[in-house]
Symmetry: C2
Subunit: 185 residues, 2 copies
Amino acid sequence: MISKSEKKAAQIRAARMMREAGIQINDSEVEEIEVVDFGLGQLDIEGVQVFTMVNTDRLAAKVLVLFPNQTEPEHWHLQVGDDPGKQETIRHIWGDLRFYVDGKDTMKEGFLVPGKHDVYSLRHEIVLESGDQLTFEPYEKHWFQGGSRGAVLYSFSTTVRDGLDGFSDTEIERLTIVEEKRDES
Amino acid sequence: MISKSEKKAAQIRAARMMREAGIQINDSEVEEIEVVDFGLGQLDIEGVQVFTMVNTDRLAAKVLVLFPNQTEPEHWHLQVGDDPGKQETIRHIWGDLRFYVDGKDTMKEGFLVPGKHDVYSLRHEIVLESGDQLTFEPYEKHWFQGGSRGAVLYSFSTTVRDGLDGFSDTEIERLTIVEEKRDES
């Protein structure tokens, strides 16, 4: 759960990073930025900010923002009914970004979220430069992390049903709850 | 048909405009920019430059560049076999951009390509600002034009099979031929 003020502050911060990275976002779109804490209640440590440019029944184009040292938890994209599952290509735009995928432990620049080693099973590190891309097929497990500057990246995919992703951390709830009571109360 | 040197110059010019618009493109990717003259042999008047970030069997994400006063000819996306046809969302990033779609003649900022009024049937003008988006369903006819600064825009779509688009101008060949002989010969 996050508070309304925490959500708003994260939207403004994400928009500022997007603009620094050269991504156009209109002022009216800033409040559409999704702030995701995965139900874990520690947004700055585990979370992601998502600006959806397009999401139709066939495809989605998004800009993801990671704050400095923020981690998107380990997950994979499931088959849903007739849909073979989300196919996703990410393209790094700006900042410090590392992905973790299946393979030999090469972790060097990144870090495991404290106290959560068991739900971050992948340790094969890929450090991305601007313009670098990775494609994930359905069920291909991955997690990623912003470095000291944080990161701004594109995510291009088939239709997104984030509510149906699989997560290694069973504590995760993909749909973020924003506290309804007033922050000042 | 375009010459090799014309293609290279257009790639460099397009990359410069992309970077000015804030889009990251690696030096090694510049030569992958597709320079499309639609077989009409007047690239600066009718043409488009296309940087493909992703094109899988399910989706495509591209950056399109229009030089100043360059026009992408009127076209539509056809059904192909089991595919219901390309669904495309464009998002304006930078520069001067107008689209022409079905509807009342409201043409004001743009112009019809000289001598080609019959193959540009649509006259309903939509002038886009940065961040504005339009979605085209299969078979929805459209054409677009860069203004005095030209334009840089995203195109997000289902799988692209440009060779199978329909064009109002029957002179058009979608696959650009690059002259093989040396330019200096």
